[in-house]
């Protein structure tokens, strides 16, 4: 992983460099690790094209540079192409994060014409059978066709593979597939356990042995492929000793706008139930970013408790992830329990060993797929 050094600081100078707009929570896929809220169907009051445009203007005024269009499945919004063109005109570097469902040759050309710069395409497996099991739909062939079509149109591409115990064994095959497709980047996004992934955690967690094999396959491929393909491996933090530097700190550079206009410091933050997040329909983005209590709450390090407060790493990892602290310890201002120094670390170790024990006993429960009427555990 890259380390912080002593060059010029790119801390955003207090600007939301990274703006992520979730155009909709709607998505035809049913991935059981979806990062959208479990009650996604409650948020039907999507903000309009004109509201998005006003927000994009405000974002540029605040210094946003990178813009990610995501969802849900953002291509389901008919105004995506119009919003991409508008954002490009404002000077954003525009990225589309998509499952590929909702794209065809014509739409790809239209997005290219609109000025879209880059596409992150998700892929769940290297064969259609596993893909269908994990997404609930027969879409694999379509996704591969779309990957080729995007490359033919000249888009730089990230192939993003969410990794769980089901597909981690395909690491090598997925690398070969990515190399065949000619994408520039392959991202193994080991799942982070929030929302739907949290519900299915014990069924999705890989074993340590699986993880080791996967990391070895990545190391071999990096040697073999060199600059042809950049492989990015997101460390699954449950297996790490140190917490991730989540979002580069709360309210530091990252701003997400949810489909209903709620402004969030990260895409998962809404799960912290004791914070009221501001909405762009009620407040200006300037106030939201600089002054709203939600964005101030964990900005900087005044909020930290021990062991973070006196820790020499606090400027590198910012205490880890607030959402994870909330989910696992009940208090978002606690140290991320992934950290070895956290008094709650045993919670993580217990979860990992319990999942390993289930595998050993060959126990398997059906995945709870992301659906409106999913029967959720109470």
């Amino acid at each position: 992983m890259p380390k912080a050094g002593s060059g010029p600081r790119l801390d955003g100078l207090g600007m939301p460099l990274w703006l992520v707009v979730e155009l909709t929570y709607k998505c035809p896929l049913k991935c059981p690790w979806c990062s959208n809220p479990v009650d996604f169907d409650r948020y039907r009051n999507e903000i309009t094209t004109d509201e998005w445009k006003a927000l994009l203007r405000e974002g540029r005024r605040l210094g946003s540079l990178q813009l990610g269009f995501t969802g849900g499945e953002p291509t389901l919004r008919k105004d995506l192409d119009e919003l991409v063109a508008y954002a490009d005109h404002l000077g954003y570097y525009t990225n589309l994060i998509t499952s590929g469902v909702g794209l065809d040759q014509e739409r790809i050309r239209s997005l290219k014409r609109a000025g879209l710069k880059q596409v992150q395409l998700s892929l769940q497996a290297c064969d259609s059978e596993l893909s269908e099991k994990l997404t609930g739909l027969d879409v694999w062939k379509h996704k591969i066709d779309i990957a080729y079509a995007l490359k033919a149109e000249g888009f730089p591409m990230v192939l993003n593979v969410p990794i769980s115990r089901y597909n981690i064994g395909q690491t090598e095959a997925l690398i070969d597939l990515a190399a065949d497709l000619g994408v520039e980047y392959l991202e193994f996004a080991n799942l982070q356990y929030y929302n739907w992934a949290l519900i299915n955690r014990s069924e999705l967690l890989p074993t340590r042995e699986q993880l080791r094999c996967s990391e070895e396959a990545v190391a071999r491929a990096r040697k073999k492929l060199g600059t042809r393909l950049t492989i990015y491996f997101v460390v699954p933090d449950y297996f790490d000793d140190k917490p991730k530097a989540c979002m580069n700190g709360w309210g530091a550079i990252h701003l997400t706008i949810a489909p209903d206009g709620t402004a969030l410091p990260c895409q998962e933050a809404r799960l912290i139930k004791d914070i009221t997040f501001p909405n762009v329909r009620e407040h200006g983005l300037d106030w939201i970013w600089h002054n709203s209590p939600a964005f101030m709450k964990f900005r900087g390090d005044d909020w930290m408790k021990e062991p973070c407060r006196s820790c020499s790493e606090k400027e590198k990892d910012f205490g880890g992830c607030r959402c994870q602290a909330f989910l696992l310890t009940g208090d978002a201002s606690n140290t991320d329990p992934v950290c070895r120094k956290s008094p709650h670390r045993h919670l993580i170790d217990d979860i990992v060993s319990a999942a390993a024990e289930r595998r050993k006993q060959g126990r398997e429960e059906p995945l709870i797929m992301r659906e409106r009427k999913a029967s959720l555990p109470s």
Binding site: M1, P2, K3, A4, G5, S6, G7, P8, R9, L10, D11, L13, M15, L17, W18, L62, G63, L65, Q66, G68, Y93, N95, K117, Q118, Q120, G154, P156, V158, E184, Y185, E187, Q192, G226, T227, T230, Y232, V234, K244, A245, C246, M247, N248, I253, H254, Q267
Partner: protein, 115 residues
């Protein structure tokens, strides 16, 4: 989506998930161009030149930006660009430092030999 902050060189700061680094050598006669995924431009709120690329930002200090501006955007060989900067700053030994920086930029995939 975890993001990491890192600085990789005294002249730059970059922020992004996707970055490659390999050893690359260049000869001073080489003319380089920006990789099509990288956009080099002045950014008013940052008061700095930046490179924008898939899911990443590089902020350049004045020196780095000037090297890229003269040698790459100016469509010159590294040697020609170095000569201009050497006379601009009355610094005859500048070429080695510029070559060094251009190799870094090449290793990071920002620029590539023009064909």
């Amino acid at each position: 989506m975890p993001l990491t902050f890192f600085a990789t060189h005294p002249l730059i700061a970059s922020l992004g998930r996707l970055e490659m680094t390999t050893e690359q050598r260049l000869s001073p006669g080489e003319v380089m161009e920006f990789h099509p995924s990288f956009h080099f431009r002045w950014e008013e709120p940052q008061q700095a030149y930046v490179l924008l690329y898939p899911e990443g930002i590089v902020k350049l200090n004045t020196t780095a930006a000037e090297i890229l501006d003269v040698c790459v955007r100016g469509d010159r060989s590294i040697a020609e660009g170095s000569a201009i900067l050497a006379s601009r700053y009355e610094h005859p030994r500048i070429e080695a430092e510029i070559l060094d920086f251009m190799e870094l930029a090449y290793a990071k995939g920002w620029i590539r030999p023009k064909t």
